[in-house]
Amino acid sequence: MLNITKNQNDSELTFALEGRLDTTTAPQLEAELKDELDGVTALTLDMEKLEYISSAGLRVLLSAQKVMMKQGEMKLVHVGETITEIFEVTGFSDILTIE
């Protein structure tokens, strides 16, 4: 299960993710991003309550990163230890902005 809490302030958009980002739930985030990214120049993904990420989730993060590189910037905040390790193993820690 994945819960997404959205917070928009003009062109700044924050998604707080809670639960699991896996094969079953990744399409949900992908669809939300597709609907909301128009005109957004700063996207923040709050990962504090994200417990799990698989390659299906990484794929969605990578496509969001590619979109945001054209129109602004994307950053991830509050990334926990287990998810950090997944980013490191896959080289995602080098291509994502993690604060």
Binding site: D22, T23, T24, E51, Y52, I53, S54, S55, A56, L58, R59, L62, S63, Q65, K66, M69, E81, T82, E85, I86, V89, T90, G91, D94, I95, L96
Partner: protein, 136 residues
């Protein structure tokens, strides 16, 4: 400790497979971080079977979990009767490329190999047998 689950290989059953594994790993006092790594690896393998092994038909997959103690060693075996496919032969993606040059996909089996100590494929008695092993 040894347990087994046979289930239709379709992505709708992913949660059931992960719940089966997580429940038992929890009981075996497997640390949360290792539990997640094992689940990530299991997800990649199960989803692969669901997408490719029997497509366009649906077949079943068997997941076996074995946990031995001191040190805790977890072995997860996936067996399916679909078309022969060795995921370990897949070429690793270049994880040093910048975002714009990254391909979306190809990461699953690579992550599995990185997160597990051993990933072994065999084709035995007309079945794909993939074994994941990790010492905690």
């Amino acid at each position: 400790m040894k347990s087994e689950l046979t289930i239709e290989a379709k992505t709708e059953n992913l949660n059931a497979v992960l719940a089966f594994l997580e429940e038992r790993l929890e009981k075996a006092d497997c640390p949360v971080k290792a539990q997640m790594q094992l689940a990530v690896a299991a997800e990649e393998i199960f989803v692969n079977i669901a997408h490719y092994a029997y497509a366009p038909e649906i077949g079943s997959a068997t997941v076996q979990l074995e946990v031995s103690e001191s040190p805790i060693t977890v072995t997860i075996t996936f067996t399916d009767g679909g078309r022969p496919f060795d995921p370990t032969k897949k070429v690793d993606p270049d994880v040093t490329l910048p975002a714009e040059a990254r391909d979306i996909g190809g990461l699953g089996i690579f992550m599995t190999k990185k997160l597990m100590d051993d990933v072994k494929y065999e084709y035995r008695d007309g079945k794909n047998v993939l074994t994941l092993k990790k010492q905690i």
